[in-house]
């Protein structure tokens, strides 16, 4: 089954729309769903032109395609998703794929903050840039992402994979400040530069294939390793936090 949601041009275009109902599973029982614009509840078809092709009995056979102007205002799309596919033909708003356990979300544009927050399984592909707190945890939480994969083909903002405890996060461009802060498990790979990676890390592995700017002074240099055809410098840390995580960087600069 293929559900196409084409956004209608809305009059009050700046208020965000919370659309946690847009999860493949929900479309098995029809399209009578609601979304919220601020404090107003709206029917799905007030915000989108809804087209359904074919039918399905299980979420894995449902693909939801979101398109139109203003998709960057949609928040919480794919929250608690457990199977199927969501394709966004444009940008997506905050909290896309929060708490997801299975299935695939593919974003052709950029993703706003908290993409895949506290994700436990499944795959998120972001063809553009991801904003701050991609694959991170929630305020005050001890564990962020615990499983699954997030791959960003553009750049990522600050606090990428904050508190990650499992799963894999790959960013092909630069990442911002504090990538992998409070990391205690899982794998984070940044193909280009980032600043202050793996601050206060306890465990897990963080790879920076570019330069680590503002490298923290509390990582202990072990030696060099060969990793997928690259020579990387291996550190253990964060010593300040009695951490035993692995940080691999191609190059680093202290703020000295």
């Amino acid at each position: 089954m293929r559900v196409t949601l084409a956004m209608r041009p809305a009059a009050r275009s700046f208020i965000p729309i919370e659309a946690e109902a847009i999860v493949p599973k929900n479309f098995l029982s029809g399209t009578d769903l609601s979304v919220w614009r601020g404090n107003r509840e709206l029917r799905l078809d007030e915000v989108f032109s809804v087209f359904v092709e074919g039918s399905a009995d299980r979420p894995e056979d449902v693909e939801v395609v979101i398109s139109g102007d203003g998709t960057s205002r949609l928040k919480r799309v794919g929250e608690y998703m457990d199977g199927g596919k969501i394709t966004v033909l444009g940008d997506i708003g905050m909290h896309c794929g929060n708490f997801m356990t299975g299935g695939t979300i593919e974003i052709h544009g950029n993703a706003d903050g908290w993409l895949g927050r506290e994700m436990a399984g499944g795959t998120i592909l972001c063809r553009g840039d991801a904003a701050d707190y991609c694959a991170s945890g929630y305020r005050g939480g001890r564990k962020g992402m615990t499983g699954g994969t997030v791959e960003v083909f553009g750049r990522a903002g600050d606090f990428l994979a904050e508190s990650i405890a499992g799963g894999t996060v790959i960013v092909h461009g630069d990442a911002g400040d504090m990538a992998g802060a409070e990391m205690h498990g899982g794998t984070l790979v940044v193909h280009a530069d980032c600043s202050r990676p793996a601050a206060n890390m306890k465990g897990g592995s963080c790879y920076v294939y570019g330069t680590a700017h503002g490298m923290l002074p509390t990582f202990k240099r072990i030696g060099t390793v060969q990793h997928e055809g690259r020579m990387l410098i291996h550190f253990i840390g964060d010593i300040a936090n009695r951490g035993k995580g692995n940080l691999f960087v191609k190059d680093y600069r202290y703020l000295d």
């Binding site: 601020g38 404090n39 305020r139 802060a181 601050a199 206060n200 202990k220 703020l255």
Partner: protein, 428 residues
């Protein structure tokens, strides 16, 4: 007439030993207060009555009309923002939270642009803090980090730290050491026993290095960390470990620089590490006299200290998304009520551009920068001068402010209760 034991409604120190001389219902002299407090208590030219923007001019309106305008504005909004709250008393803040829930809006206070990061860090690792009285009587080491109390909290030093007597200290001035950490040599740095000058943005690295040194891992620290020599870091750690009771006070130099709440988390974790060796505490130098109260009131009423979004009927909290600067910069609200704050003087230009596009009502005794963005401004009594109410000191101690004048202005609480009653009626 001289009014004694007046509570100063300026900064988070909430000094309660002020004497105010009143003649013909005017404050003519203030004793004991600092320059900042004196200026506030002496008052400025207040607005006389509510005003409504009428094209290019202002029109005088009655309180009834202004209150009705605000109620209608909030009721018709899809995502109203109720911001400010630090410059008013707790009783008014309570009504504000009820209003936000009723109209399903977002309520945020000024901590989202000051010590919000401190609260985020406390939510991660807790708050090993204490009251100011404990520091005054016991602390033999005080660290000011990214704070300049001589300019911002002038009496903090004389009432609680550098120049204060301590019950458990024989000669407090001699026995109490003061360390100042900042990116520039401030006035406070000049009275410190040890001044640590950090390169801008280097706080986190220095805190991490200190934690490692406390753990005995000195040899792995580079020769300099963010402009601070390893020798000085070791000297600071020795001072800390040698103290019987240490207290860290941090300001916006730590909360509002790169890394934000992670800096505070690192400082708290340094304090936890030091507490394995001696007694150490850490607290925030809160700015507005009742910004701590707005966090308290919000927390006991909603579970969250600031940035609370009621648009779905339940409280949702996510600083960075549900906080005033973020909402305004993203144009995510369609009306704003400002109480006891002046966002136009402090917010980024992009936020003000949206503020100029939406209806705005402000409750404030004085014309300020935000007046230029208002559709309606309602003058109210000043808490601590002509209104009474509860405020929370920077260490969380509630103190009831006193009234020194009777002016006839309604308090924030009175105005808000009338708005709330109108909105309840309309909803029912």
């Amino acid at each position: 007439m001289i009014v004694k034991d007046v509570v100063c409604p300026f900064c988070g120190c909430l000094c309660d030993d002020i004497e105010v001389e009143v003649e013909e219902n005017r404050v003519v002299a203030v004793a004991n207060a600092c320059e900042l407090g004196t200026k506030k208590l002496m008052g400025e030219k207040r607005m006389k009555n509510p005003i409504l923007r009428d094209g290019g001019t202002w029109k005088d309106i009655t309180y009834d009309e202004a209150i009705q305008y605000t109620a209608d504005m909030l009721l018709s909004a899809e995502r109203p923002l109720l911001y400010g709250w630090s410059g008013t008393h707790g009783e008014a803040q309570c009504v504000g939270v009820h209003m936000a829930e009723l109209v399903r809006g977002v309520i945020d206070n000024t901590s989202s642009v000051c010590h919000g990061p401190s609260i985020l860090a406390i939510q991660e690792v807790g708050h090993p803090g204490c009251t100011l009285g404990v520091v005054k009587n016991r602390a033999d080491l005080v660290i000011y980090w990214g704070a300049n109390p001589i300019d911002a909290h002038p009496r903090h030093l004389s009432r609680y730290t550098r120049y204060a007597e301590g019950f458990f200290l024989e000669n407090a001035f001699r026995d109490r050491k003061v360390i100042v950490v900042d990116v520039r040599r401030t006035e406070t740095a000049n009275i410190a026993d040890e001044f640590v000058q950090i390169k801008p943005g280097g706080d986190y690295a220095v805190l991490s290095a200190l934690r490692a040194i406390v753990r005995g891992k000195t040899e792995m620290i580079p020769r300099t960390v963010a402009g601070v020599t390893r020798e000085q870091l070791v000297r600071v750690v020795d001072l800390c470990k040698g103290a019987k009771f240490g207290a860290v006070y941090f300001g916006l130099g730590l909360t509002m620089t790169g890394g934000k709440y992670k800096n505070i988390r690192n400082a708290i974790e340094l304090v936890s590490e030091l507490s394995r060796h001696t007694k150490f505490t850490i607290s925030a130098m809160r700015g507005h006299y009742n910004v701590y109260g707005s966090n308290e009131v919000n927390t006991w009423m909603t579970g969250y200290p600031f940035g609370i979004d009621f648009s779905r009927g339940i409280a949702f909290y996510n600083p960075g998304e549900t906080t005033a600067v973020d909402i305004l910069a993203r144009k995510e609200c369609d009306a704003a009520l400002i109480v006891g704050s002046d966002p136009a003087a402090h917010f980024p230009r992009r936020c003000l551009e949206h503020l100029a596009d939406i209806p705005v009502v402000q409750l404030d005794p004085y014309p300020n920068a935000t007046t230029a963005f208002c559709n309606v401004q309602i003058p109210v009594a000043v808490t601590g001068i002509d209104a009474v109410g509860t405020a929370y000191r920077m260490d969380g101690v509630p103190i009831r402010t006193r009234r020194v004048l009777s002016t006839g202005y309604p308090s924030d609480e009175e105005v808000l209760i009338r708005m709330y009653a109108l909105m309840q009626g309309a909803k029912a």
